[in-house]
């Protein structure tokens, strides 16, 4: 360990020396690259010889990084943190090729539950989509994902695993919404020839990386939405032939999915915010969602070059009664049975935010330890105030060398929030022959109408009848202005129904469509056929007028000249709402009697065949009584004896 530390010292000195000696940016950059490549080589050497197995490589890589992180940790952090600001300008001038940020937001919910949202962001200034620019050197960006991105020419990748359903009515909006089960959507690069083949291989590889059943994604649950899923990163691609979207509403998310997800983090779960992620607590919650979002972004504001952004998010809602024992008192320790002691040493920023918007003047709850830092931001159309704990600062941890923010309620919160947009879905009808899917979309905005995009993916075995589609709001028909419908093909592809509906202010819009339940082949049923079949969530995407813009009388905060027209970025915000997945029963055959059915049906066919055969091949004849057996025998003997026959 000491030797390792010495080596780091040496490298640092080298970097400083090169800084002092040369004034040219080019040289500087080169030397910086050199340092990095040295350190990188150091990390990856022990396992560079290993086989191409992504999984294996991945695991090794993180071991290496963890060891490496440990080494740096052993180095007095002052060198990095304390001296940082002094050399700040000189260091940022040659920007390091990748950087890592981590962040956690705690939001007390009105129901008394608490919402913890982690975000880990790795930015990497490389572009492996351009001609032959193969990235082989990885530092913070996980190699397994990088290889996947370059091999399958992925432009954008979004994958989420969710256990539980986000209750918008009780909890408000999540920072990053996700449907129950697994969701995967990918934009491929426009040079990809065979998108379906790439998609198939990609899902299988991701299935291995995340230990999930993504290999069950095939053409029967993959769609190409035309409008609902636009790229979130660079490149305003509109050709939806390069987009694939699939959900697995039945996917169960558990520890085996969390472990590979944590391994993608530069610090693993050894340091930083990720130490809180202990599965026994995370999965003892009402809602758990982990996601990976990869997209190309601009490196700087002029967008001269692009870089890759990897966002790993984890959202969890702890229940007031099961996790909080019914007491409105939340602390990190109570939620995760861990406290924070340090930031991830590789992170350029590491912060904990606590939403204190509702706690004006400390009336609602006490937050200890109090943080001097307060930040205000417009999040999801609402102006929120956060107490910020900067984990890179030593004083955050105080005397105990650990951070454990504690929220203790003084009184019941009274106001009930009403999300501007939410939706619910159910199946109506009885029996196993037909049914009707109802989707109710609520616009709670008091005076603004806005359009929403509704995306429905229904498996082929529920045969939708699009002529029965009705959209009604306020008792009147509300004709969608755009409908994209792709009918299903049996055993090949699902139904895709996408439409743009204008929601009148303060209304419920009900979308209904009838379907017919198919009888499947006996091998096509799941092992528990009477449990039912899942239909993935509908996706509602909308630009919702923001709450900030609703307050047209907020003259006390802003100067008058700025407040007449609502500013663009604040007037509306993008929101995606997922409805409940549906559980639909199908008629089932009797699984125990394939042989009986084959025998019986063939018997009936044989009865038909036999009776026709009889009539066709035989002719009518007079029935002559045959001579009895004894007489015939006697005749044989008589013939032998030469006696006249009987």
């Amino acid at each position: 360990m000491a030797a390792l530390g010495c080596k780091w010292d040496a490298l640092f000195v080298l970097a400083l020396a090169s800084l002092m000696l040369s004034c040219k940016g080019d040289d500087l950059k080169k030397s910086n690259d050199y340092t990095e490549s040295v350190s990188g080589g150091e990390q990856s050497n022990p396992h560079a010889v290993k086989a191409d197995d992504l999984q294996q490589n991945e695991a090794d890589g993180h071991e290496g990084e963890e060891r490496d992180g440990g080494g740096r940790q052993w180095q007095p952090t002052g060198v990095w943190m304390g001296e940082g600001p002094e050399h700040g300008e000189t260091f940022t001038a040659p920007p390091s090729k990748d950087q890592f940020q981590e962040e956690m937001v705690l939001r007390p919910l009105h129901s008394g539950d608490i919402y913890a949202s982690f975000q880990f962001r790795t930015q990497w200034d490389t572009d492996f989509l351009h001609d032959g620019n193969k990235a082989s050197h990885y530092r913070l960006f996980p190699k397994s994902l990088g290889q996947v991105l370059s091999k399958f020419s992925v432009r954008e990748l979004h994958i989420s695993f969710t256990q539980g359903y986000w209750r918008t009515m009780q909890w408000g909006q999540p920072f990053i919404p996700s449907p129950p089960g697994a969701e995967l959507w990918v934009w491929f690069h426009h040079t990809v020839m065979d998108v379906d083949e790439n998609w198939k291989e990609l899902t299988n590889v991701l299935s291995g990386i995340f230990c999930a059943s993504l290999n069950f994604i095939d053409s029967t649950n993959t769609v190409e939405p035309s409008a609902s899923f636009k790229p979130l990163g660079l490149g305003n691609a509109t050709d939806h032939r390069f987009l694939r979207y699939a959900t697995l509403p039945r996917e169960i998310v558990c520890t085996e999915n969390l472990t590979p997800w944590k391994k993608l983090l530069p610090c693993g779960s050894k340091a930083g915010l990720a130490v809180l992620m202990k599965s026994e607590k995370l999965f003892h919650s009402s809602f758990h969602s982990q996601a990976v979002h990869i997209r190309p972004i601009c490196k700087d504001w002029q967008c001269t070059s692009t870089s890759w952004e990897l966002r790993q998010t984890l959202n969890v809602v702890f229940d007031l009664y099961t996790s909080g024992q019914g007491k409105k008192e939340w602390s990190l320790f109570k939620m995760f049975s861990r406290t924070l002691t340090e930031a991830c040493p590789l992170a350029s920023s590491s912060k904990v935010y606590v939403d204190v918007t509702d706690n004006k003047g400390g009336e609602l709850f006490d937050l200890t330890p109090a943080s001097p830092l307060v930040s205000t931001a417009v999040v999801l159309g609402d102006r929120r105030t956060y107490s910020v704990y900067d984990l890179t600062k030593k004083e955050t941890f105080g005397q105990l060398r650990s951070l454990n923010p504690l929220l203790r309620w003084k009184r019941e919160s009274d106001e009930m929030l009403r999300p501007l947009l939410h939706a619910e879905r159910y199946v109506s009808g009885f029996g196993l022959q037909t049914g009707e899917i109802h989707t109710c979309i609520y616009n709670n905005h008091p005076y603004r109408a806005y359009p929403v995009l509704l995306l429905d993916t229904v498996p082929w075995y529920l045969r939708l009848y699009v002529h029965t589609l009705t959209v009604t709001s306020k008792m009147h028909e509300n004709k969608p202005s755009y409908i994209h419908y792709q009918p299903s093909k049996d055993r090949v592809r699902p139904h895709l129904l996408e439409m743009l509906v204008q929601l009148p202010p303060h209304s419920v819009t009900e979308v209904t469509v009838q379907f017919e339940r198919a009888l499947l082949k006996w091998t096509e049923y799941t092992p528990d056929p009477n449990h039912g079949f899942y239909v993935g969530s509908s996706v509602i995407s909308a630009l919702v007028p923001s709450i900030v813009a609703m307050d047209t009388n907020s003259t006390h905060e802003r100067p008058l000249f700025s407040s007449f027209f609502p500013t663009k970025e604040e007037s509306s915000y993008f929101m995606r709402v997922y409805t409940e997945p549906l559980l639909v029963n199908l008629p089932t055959p009797d699984f125990s009697m394939p042989y009986n059915v084959i025998c019986l049906t063939c018997t009936v066919v044989a009865v038909g065949y036999g009776s026709f055969y009889n009539l066709l091949t035989r002719t009518f004849q007079v029935d002559e009584p045959s001579t009895p057996l004894a007489k015939r025998l006697a005749n044989v003997i008589r013939r032998l004896r030469g006696v006249p026959l009987l």
Binding site: D490, P587, P589, M593, T601, F612
Partner: protein, 435 residues
């Protein structure tokens, strides 16, 4: 004779109109016995809706009608009730005229045979009288129009009624001796649902008989006419298929209509034998059994044609019955067509062996279908085997019915040549057996 037919037509239309207006129409149009994925009205409307949305109706797996049908209903969708009533009327009138013509023929032949003294003397009681034959065409029309199966099929707006009409017109034009019209309507029927292809043989046999061309492969006149008829049939089939192609602009309808009929991907329960069999089939035997079951429908054509080459009209009846039993998506509407012919074979009644049993089986099954369907799908107290058992019994009943008529027909023919009261060598009363 026209007045009673008009009365029957008016009665039939009244019943249908009343049912169309009642709430039963909705219920009937959902019944799996009455509509199949091939001919459900709901799917026709869906196809039209898809056309309106600018999506090819054949891009999905809901619509399986032929392009001509969708273009027909594109114009008359608002008057669908009336169209289906008219179509049923046309079928009935066509059958009426066809049977009238056939009976005239039969009677004339019988008269010639009697004059030539070709019948044994004890067969006089087998002879058919004009009085008995007089009401047969009307009975046929009644059997078609007032058959509950036809009424249900019409009220459900199953396009099976259209197919029946095309087949009925084919029969009429064949019996009237128009080779071209016969070929055209046969092509149309084949285009609608493949299986009427087997009616080619009886159609050809009848026309040959009518032109007094013996069915003899050594004669050039036989081959000449056969080729002529085949060319007319194939030609009109090609014209119709190409017309569909130009209407639609793509060949998508071929796999979506004919592929669907032949490969049976939709296992929605119906009264046929296919659905449960292929739902329970082992995947690697599936193709084999599909072939076996489909060949089974076409298989009987050649032996039946050989056996019944002198009786093409009975052959038509047999073929229609076999199609409606063994086709992949049968409905009660298909049954109605061959059941309409039963009055034509009134004179076979004395030779039918188990007509009572068979009618009881068919009636009981008809009553049990909705009951067991309800128990399986709605009440959940039965399972699929219950409904399956009834379909089996129903099909056995139909097979027995058809083979019984076949037996009776052959036996009558045998008696007409050998005499009614047969004696053994020793002079005692003989029993006839098949050997």
């Amino acid at each position: 004779m026209a007045a009673p037919l008009t009365l029957v037509l008016i009665l039939a239309v009244t019943i249908r109109a009343v049912l169309f207006r009642s709430s039963l129409a909705e219920l009937i149009s959902e019944r799996v016995e009455v509509v199949s994925p091939l001919n459900a009205w709901k799917r026709v409307v869906e196809g039209l809706a898809l056309l309106d949305l600018g999506v090819s109706p054949y891009s999905g797996d809901v619509f399986h009608e032929t392009p001509l049908v969708i273009y027909l209903f594109h114009f008359v969708v608002d008057y669908a009730d009336i169209v289906f009533m008219i179509v049923d009327g046309i079928t009935a009138v066509a059958l009426y005229l066809a049977v009238q013509d056939y009976n005239k023929n039969v009677f004339r032949k019988q008269k010639f045979a009697l004059e030539a003294e070709r019948y044994p003397h004890d067969c006089l009681e087998l002879m058919r009288s004009p009085k008995e034959m007089h009401y047969i065409p009307l009975k046929v029309a009644m059997f078609y129009l007032l058959n509950p199966f036809t009424i249900l099929s019409c009220v459900a707006k199953s396009t099976c009624g259209l197919n029946n009409a095309v087949v009925a017109i084919f029969i009429l034009s064949t019996l009237k001796g128009s080779a071209l019209l016969s070929a055209i309507f046969l092509a149309l029927a084949t285009y609608q649902s493949i299986y009427p292809l087997t009616l080619f043989a009886p159609g050809l046999l009848f026309l040959l008989q009518r032109l007094y061309i013996p069915v003899n492969p050594c004669r050039s006149s036989f081959w000449l006419f056969t080729v002529q008829y085949a060319v007319m049939f194939v030609g009109s089939l090609l014209v119709i298929v190409c017309l569909s192609f130009f209407l639609l602009g793509s060949w998508d309808f071929i796999p979506s209509v004919y592929g669907f009929i032949l490969s049976v991907p939709d296992l929605t329960p119906n009264i046929g034998l296919f659905w449960y069999f292929f739902a329970e089939m082992f995947e690697h035997f599936r193709f084999f059994f599909i072939c076996v079951f489909q060949i089974n429908v076409f298989f009987y054509t050649i032996p039946l044609s050989v056996k019944l080459k002198e009786h093409p009209v009975f052959l038509i009846f047999m073929q229609i019955a076999i199609i409606s039993i063994f086709k992949s998506y049968p409905t009660v509407g298909d049954m109605a067509l061959y059941m309409a012919f039963l009055p034509v074979w009134n004179h076979l009644y004395r030779f039918l062996r188990n007509i009572f049993l068979v009618s009881c089986v068919l009636l009981a099954c008809t009553a049990l279908f909705p009951v067991l369907w309800h128990l399986w799908i709605y009440a959940g107290s039965a399972n699929s085997n219950f409904y399956y058992a009834i379909t089996l019994l129903f099909n056995v009943g139909q097979i027995l019915l058809v083979s019984d008529y076949f037996y009776a027909y052959l036996r009558r023919e045998h008696h007409l040549s050998q005499g009614l009261y047969l004696r053994r060598k020793d002079g005692s009363e003989a029993t006839l057996v098949l050997k």
